[in-house]
């Protein structure tokens, strides 16, 4: 590349020397390309798969630029996980030492004395979580105003994980508040997984930006991918699923691997099964569980073991290991159960095939065996089709975009209280400007905002002074003074699970436990010895047998494109080469039943006294459509990717559809009337009921998509 020597020579000599020490012959393409826009103080999005040198692409030029700044914190690096911060710390430690730039970890578990030192003499690079930054702004605005006076760059890692959710909104709000505090624009650098919709991600980096960010993408096509989709049958005796487990055991043992399952339950069950297989074969166990409920010690141990690569280790994880925590080389990835998101499948795949090797992924997809009482959708073997569709889109480099229509009122409420607490007293229109008209909550109207403030006033979360300023009310004070306030997302109350005096993890209170019950946790089998309700502690002893406890969680919303690809597959019967014999049979069975049910001509079919609709639209469209049908007094239940109408015929469905179409396009909020519980996010319960409904509907219903679909089909 022609600008190669140029980019390198622009870097600080000490940074150049460090690069030589690493033994790097040259900079990678994203590292070269990011130097100039970062030097120009533009907003930059660096997009590449994990382990492609994104961190260095941002930090090499940034540290070169700030090397001369002595007073105050010059760089703020934000990451979603403490583990990631610890990783980056190790990665940057030596470079920062050579540059004489201070490097400080700042999160709940980070060293107190280092934080104290920064409090006295702020300087260098801070690696921090959004929650800790929130605490700093709320508790210590004066310090933050002085400490960030020379802040030159904000780097956001795993930016894709902040899109369209509570933490992302909080992050955007925090950055707006930080810039307001410093009265200047601070360049933002986002490190992100690959994405397709440039407009949305640019908007998320800086809402209302006057200039679009510079996007630096990895052009390299990436290494080879080796894929296999293995099919199984779920039978009442579970025989074929044991075959699946022993397949996994056989193929993965002896190497470092990652297994991804869709829920914590499944993760636990699978790990326990695989550990049992080790025991049966009289070999040391090398299968471990890793998810958000496990204790820090346990997770650290596993991450270290993977990284050390001395003993073969296979980790069964949920999305926690999708992020770029350094776990060394992984031979292969196993995906158990069908994927719901292409982007997350891409992230998972990216964890293997580092350093030029081919990425290996095996998908283990089971379909229910045909039985008499089988539900209609199962006939279509949709899990297999959805898996193939997701892989197809992944190969086409298409990825989901976050939902941008949601009001995000739960997080707005948190931010209102946070800003009021930060400044002591704020006027209503100042809040609206900062957070909505010039801030991230763009969808919220003045009327909604006033209603929100009134609700806060009614609950004594806010009070108003005589001159109109809003200040915290007594309740608001209690709420904001508790450390749990800093997080925008809900963390359920949890039991601490202890064994032999050691905490092995936490579990949500929502799943009741009783003495003597056998459970699986951390991939091992336990018996509950004692439940202490007061201290919320559960004592466990070793046992055999048991089922995983129930963990809450949802797999996320499926996009329209994925559903459309499924439909295309059913119609074309286009079979990919990476299916094994059983998967092939499952796929063919699905396609055959698709035609049998006449789905190639219409989008509904009858089965066992129920009617099923197959609209092949996004989950949000699907939910809206369900709600519209519910308004016509049809007994509708969710059976994504289908809609199930109980005790009905095609005739009743058609009549219902006709009635919907005869009316006006339904109001989005009204559709939420029939939803039993519209409380989803952390502070939803503090919203007045109609705002709560609007909020729910904005996040969960795509009325336009549903309406477009329903007015264009023939029935």
């Amino acid at each position: 590349m022609s600008n190669k020597p140029d980019a390198f020579s622009k870097l600080n000599p000490i940074v150049q020397r460090w690069i030589h020490q690493q033994g790097w012959a040259n900079l990678r393409s994203i590292q070269e390309k990011s130097v100039e826009p970062i030097y120009n103080r533009q907003d930059v999005i660096i997009s590449a798969p994990t382990a492609s040198g994104k961190t260095e692409a941002a930090f090499l030029p940034v540290l070169s630029q700030v090397a001369e700044i002595e007073e105050g914190i010059s760089v703020l690096y934000l990451a979603p996980l403490k583990a990631l911060i610890n990783d980056q710390y190790t990665r940057l430690e030596l470079l920062c030492q050579q540059l004489d730039t201070e490097l400080t970890r700042w999160h709940g578990d980070a060293s107190q004395s280092q934080k104290q030192r920064q409090k006295r003499t702020p300087s260098g690079v801070i690696l921090i979580t959004p929650e800790s930054l929130e605490a700093l702004l709320m508790r210590d605005m004066t310090w933050a105003a002085a400490a960030f006076i020379n802040l030159s760059y904000v780097i956001i890692d795993e930016f894709h994980s902040f899109l369209g959710n509570e933490r992302g909104m909080q992050l955007q709000s925090l950055l707006a508040r930080l810039e307001l505090l410093q009265q200047k624009k601070i360049p933002r650098i986002a490190l992100s997984a690959t994405f397709s919709d440039t407009r949305i991600i640019s908007q998320a980096l800086r809402p209302h930006a006057s200039a679009t960010p510079v996007i630096v993408q990895d052009e390299a096509s990436g290494g080879d991918i080796k894929l296999q989709l293995r099919g199984y049958l779920k039978t009442p005796d579970g025989k074929d699923l044991s075959r699946r487990d022993s397949d996994i055991y056989r193929q993965l043992r002896g190497n470092n691997n990652l297994i991804f399952a869709n829920s914590r339950n499944q993760t636990e069950q699978l790990t326990a099964n695989l550990a049992d297989l080790c025991e049966k074969s009289h070999v040391p166990n090398e299968f471990f569980a890793h998810h958000g409920s496990l204790s820090k010690d346990h997770r650290n141990y596993i991450e270290k073991r993977l990284k050390a690569a001395k003993l073969p280790t296979t980790v069964c994880a949920t999305s926690t290991l999708e992020m770029g925590i350094d776990i060394g080389d992984v031979a292969s990835i196993a995906q158990v159960g069908c994927p719901f998101s292409v982007a997350s499948l891409r992230q998972r795949l990216g964890r293997s095939g580092r350093r030029g090797q081919a990425a290996v992924m095996r998908l283990f997809i089971d379909e229910p065996e045909l039985t008499a009482e089988q539900k209609g959708p199962d006939l279509l073997c949709w899990r297999t089709t959805q898996s193939i569709a997701a892989v197809n889109l992944l190969l086409e480099k298409w990825y989901e975009s976050p939902v941008t229509e949601a009001y995000q009122l739960s997080t707005l409420l948190q931010q209102v209280l946070a800003v009021v607490s930060q400044y002591g007293g704020v006027r209503a229109e100042q809040l609206y400007q900062l957070l909505c008209s010039a801030g991230p909550f763009t969808n919220v109207s003045i009327a909604m905002f006033s209603e929100l403030l009134h609700a806060l006033g009614d609950q004594d979360l806010l009070t108003q002074m005589q001159d109109g300023q809003l200040v915290l009310g007594a309740e608001g004070e209690t709420l904001t003074n508790h450390y749990t306030f800093y997080a925008a997302f809900a963390t359920p109350e949890e039991y601490r699970l202890q064994s032999g005096g050691k905490t092995i993890g936490q579990m949500p209170i929502s799943s009741p436990l009783v003495n003597g019950q056998h459970i699986i946790f951390a991939g091992r089998r336990w018996q509950v010895l004692e439940v202490n309700m007061e201290d919320k502690v559960v004592l466990l002893g070793k046992a055999v047998g048991g089922a995983p406890p129930h963990f809450e969680g949802n797999p996320g919303l499926v996009a329209r494109e994925l559903r459309q690809e499924m439909k295309r597959l059913y119609l074309s019967v286009e079979q990919p080469i990476y299916l094994d014999a059983v998967a092939r049979t499952n796929f063919e069975r699905g396609c055959r039943n698709f035609r049998k049910a006449n789905l190639h001509q219409q989008d509904y079919f009858e089965h066992a006294g129920n009617v099923y609709m197959a609209p092949w639209i996004s989950d949000r469209g699907l939910f809206a459509l369900e709600a519209m049908l519910r308004e016509q007094s049809l007994s509708v239940s969710s059976a994504a990717p289908f809609i199930e109408i109980d005790d009905a015929s095609v005739f009743t469905l058609k009549k219902g559809l006709a009635r919907v179409v005869a009316g006006d396009k339904p109001d989005r909020t009204r559709l939420a009337d029939n939803v039993a519980d519209v409380t989803r996010e952390k502070y939803d319960h503090l919203l007045p009921s109609d705002l709560r409904k609007q909020n729910y509907a904005s996040a969960m219903f795509d009325v336009d998509e549903a309406w477009e679909y329903i007015t264009n089909i023939s029935f």
Binding site: R139, Y423, G424, G468
Partner: protein, 442 residues
């Protein structure tokens, strides 16, 4: 009867009033009403001069003239030979804190230290210098060594908490003065202002073990009160405004600690453990009365600060109670206030007025229509608008006042610690938002 007003003074008054702040000089030209309050404070100042201690909370609505009143009191104190220190509280200036906000208040108080000859602050070095001069004079008279007199005079100070180091630093200043060592003098002044960041550095430079810290701010104010007396002043008046910032603290613990500090000051003043010092502090009614977040939420303070019920029943004001509720101006006083301002514009020349009396009445009627009774209850905004009006007339002699009055805008605005968002491309949108939310009430 009217005295001429100097152009510089006229300019200063007009500019301050336009900005909605209290003028630094020439208060007597515009002051109206509140005779009882002023008299009570004059008595208090005499108490300070007689080695007594005074505690006053001045309570009044936003824009009702608290800050004006506090400045007036300071002016009177300066005239009577006191030293004054003054500051507003803010999110980073508090009476009590553990992370620098109390020290920051101390720094601000010291910056604003004033005497009759230096009424605009920055008087600290000259006060220390005056102390040295007083000591020299006495030494000459008594035929003693100056340093000995310095020691003797500081003896009383040494007995107080932190007083030993304070006395040492003043002595060092004297030595620097004698030796022509400016560095030493500067170091000593910096220490007295509370500007040494760490104890280690202070010890290296001055050999003292302590510096002014969050926890010792009040102790040093008491030391100052004795010291200024030793330097020949009447005593120290500490004037602290915007106590509403304590009410706004979002952390209960922090707020209560500040209220405890107020209680400590109040007790010291009422029980005679402080001398030659007066605290005059301004706050809004909600700061005092709010049962959950105000001073009244702290029981020990509530009972000490409660209004005199007998006086209330009798329909009179008890001007001797620690809390002084500012009477609102009445429409007549407001009228006189406008007349005074008109006269300031005319530089004191009754024959050169910009507006006839009927225009004042028309203006007041207009304000009444726009913002109701608050036009005289909280005069700040009314005055601001009036000064704007006069400025236009002053600069455009051809304009008729009748045309202008109807277009006068009177706003009920309030300032917060949050910076205003200013961005040209969003100006219009912002204006719209302001319209709809600025009158927001819960």
């Amino acid at each position: 009867m009217a005295k001429a007003i100097k152009p510089r003074e006229r300019e200063a008054i007009i500019q301050s009033l336009r900005a909605g702040v209290t003028p630094r000089t020439g208060l007597h030209h515009i002051q109206v009403g509140r005779a009882g309050e002023v008299e009570a404070l004059v008595t208090n100042i005499d108490t300070i001069i007689d080695n007594g201690a005074v505690f006053r909370l001045v309570i009044g609505d936003f824009g009702s003239g608290k800050s004006f009143f506090l400045r007036l009191v300071r002016q009177i104190a300066l005239e009577k030979g006191l030293v004054t220190v003054s500051s507003d509280l803010s999110p980073d200036r508090r009476l009590h804190s553990t992370s620098g906000q109390a020290k920051s208040l101390y720094n601000e108080l010291m910056r604003n230290m004033s005497t009759r000859t230096k009424p605009d602050g920055g008087a600290l070095p000259s006060i220390v210098e005056k102390f040295i001069i007083v000591c020299r004079k006495q030494a000459e008279e008594e035929n003693q060594e100056v340093e000995k007199v310095v020691h003797e005079k500081l003896h009383q100070v040494e007995e107080l908490v932190g007083g030993y180091d304070f006395a040492r630093v003043v002595t060092l200043y004297y030595q620097g003065y004698e030796q022509g060592n400016e560095n030493l003098q500067n170091d000593a002044i910096r220490w007295l202002r509370g500007e040494w960041p760490t104890k280690t550095e202070a010890r290296q430079a001055l050999g003292v073990r302590s510096i002014v810290e969050d926890s010792t701010v009040y102790d040093y104010l008491k030391i100052w009160s004795l010291f200024v007396q030793a330097a020949g002043y009447g005593g120290l008046l500490v004037s602290i405004d915007e106590l509403v910032n304590l009410y706004k603290l979002g952390n209960k613990q922090a707020r209560v600690s500040n209220y405890e500090q107020i209680l400590r000051i109040l007790n010291d003043c009422l029980q005679g453990s402080a001398n030659s010092i007066g605290f005059v502090m301004g706050g809004t009614p909600e700061f005092l009365l709010d049962p959950r977040k105000g001073l009244y939420s702290y029981e020990a303070l509530r009972s000490r600060l409660a209004e005199n019920t007998f006086a209330k029943q009798a329909g009179v004001v008890d001007y001797s109670s620690p809390t002084l509720h500012m009477n609102n101006l009445n429409p007549e006083e407001m009228y006189i206030l406008l007349k005074n301002i008109r006269l300031v514009f005319a530089a004191g020349d009754e024959d050169n007025l910009l507006l006839p009396d009927e225009a004042l009445k028309a203006f007041l009627a207009h304000c009444h229509e726009k913002i109701g009774e608050s036009y005289f209850r909280t005069p700040r905004n009314t005055i601001k608008a009036f000064v704007d009006l006069l400025t236009v007339l002053d600069q455009n002699s051809q304009v008729e006042w009748q045309q202008l009055i109807q277009s006068v805008k009177v706003e009920n605005e309030s300032n917060t610690a949050m910076p205003e968002l200013e961005s040209s491309e969003r100006q219009e949108k912002k204006a719209e938002d302001n319209e709809q939310l600025s009158s927001f009430t819960l």
